[in-house]
């Protein structure tokens, strides 16, 4: 075999080897069962939430002295803005330090995509990853009611969350437990008289919570209320 032929044959063999490995990985990771969607913020949000306790829809220590409830719709653009601008500070300064537990109460009035998104996050909550999936949904929010909450997006989001079994999450979306989580959130919002999102309520854990009027979509809009509740 001439040297040129040997180089050509080797190159073809190499590309077959590399391509074969890539195809095998794409197949075994489920990457080809649905087209992969791009997920924004996975690295940043994984780092933000890493090591913080999660129990269902609650982020942070159950013994934190103050509770902050976020009433939000996964499709509401202002909710996504709050998540992007205020959440990192609130989590770092108040939740990670054990001062505040953050509870999400989902609302689904915008449309069908809201319910699909919230159901998926609740299903991830069964694996202790509610906040990972919820924050990624907000970070990758599409235009209201365009069907943006696709299985491909949910699969990509699930795949980017460390320790989450994506298929198990997708299978659990219509479980009785998720149904109960959905109706519990709806009842809470109705009882509290919440009619717009995002709305926040703050108070001593186990006590009566007060609705907070946001003055800003960055952390300074909520931190005075948290500091006041902590100093009570």
């Amino acid at each position: 075999m001439s040297r040129k032929t040997l180089v050509a044959v080797s190159a073809v063999a190499a590309l077959a080897l590399g391509g074969g490995l890539a195809a095998a990985l794409a197949l075994t990771s489920g990457g080809t069962s649905t087209p992969a969607a791009t997920v924004t913020g996975a690295g940043r949000l994984t780092t933000l939430l890493d090591g913080i306790e999660q129990h269902g829809t609650v982020l942070g220590s159950p013994s934190a002295p103050v509770t902050l409830v976020e009433f939000a719709d996964p499709q509401c653009p202002y909710c996504a803005e709050w998540e992007a601008r205020a959440l990192p500070d609130v989590v770092t300064r108040y939740v990670r330090t054990g001062k505040v537990q953050l509870r999400f109460s989902g609302m689904t009035f915008v449309g069908a995509d809201s319910e699909t998104a919230f159901r998926t996050a609740l299903a991830a909550g069964e694996q202790g990853r509610f906040w990972n999936v919820l924050t990624l949904l907000f970070a990758n929010q599409g235009t209201e009611n365009t069907g943006w909450v696709t299985d491909a997006l949910l699969r990509s989001i699930g795949d980017s969350v460390p320790g989450l079994d994506t298929q198990k999450m997708l299978d659990a979306r219509n479980s009785a437990a998720v149904d109960r989580g959905l109706s519990a959130a709806a009842t809470l919002a109705q009882t509290a008289g919440i009619d717009s999102t995002p709305t926040f309520a703050v108070g001593k854990t186990g006590g009566t919570l007060q609705v907070v009027r946001l003055t800003s979509f960055d952390a300074s809009g909520i931190t005075p209320a948290l500091d006041a509740a902590l100093s009570q």
Binding site: V7, S10, L21, A22, T46, D159, G163, T166
Partner: protein, 134 residues
């Protein structure tokens, strides 16, 4: 460039790559946190793309680098061809993994990129050795 210099270069590069791959493989099995300046190493390392049929992708990389290092020790043409096949094959696979990091996971693993840089150097080195030396 002399065959001796190319062999040394290939050996040094592949041992560097093997070191990185060994670190990632050990962290995978120990489920230990990674030293990471880019913040995305954990996301990549614990993603569904970190294993192929139960074998850590990092372990595949380790096997590849050890194989390339072994070819540097041999002189026969077939071994030199094998070194080039492993290096270019590794780079092609690494290209897919970069796409996964950027396009699917939105998380960058600095260790993976360092390994990719080594492969970028190993491909011309092994090709030169295959084409130029006798």
């Amino acid at each position: 460039m002399s065959d001796r210099r190319l062999r040394v270069a290939i050996l040094v590069l592949s041992l560097l790559g093997a070191g990185i791959a060994a670190y990632l493989t050990a962290a995978h099995f120990a489920d230990a946190p990674l030293l990471c300046a880019t913040g995305g190493c954990e996301t990549v390392q614990r993603s569904r793309y970190a294993e192929l049929a139960g074998v850590p992708v990092a372990a595949l990389g380790l096997a590849g680098y050890v194989a390339i290092a072994a070819t540097a020790a041999a002189r026969a043409e077939l071994w030199r061809a094998a070194g080039f096949v492993f290096a270019l094959g590794g780079l092609a696979f690494a290209g897919y993994l970069v796409w996964v990091q950027v396009g699917v996971l939105d998380a960058i693993c600095q260790w993976c990129l360092s390994s990719d840089a080594i492969l970028v150097l190993l491909v011309p080195a092994t090709l030169l050795r295959l084409r130029e030396t006798r």
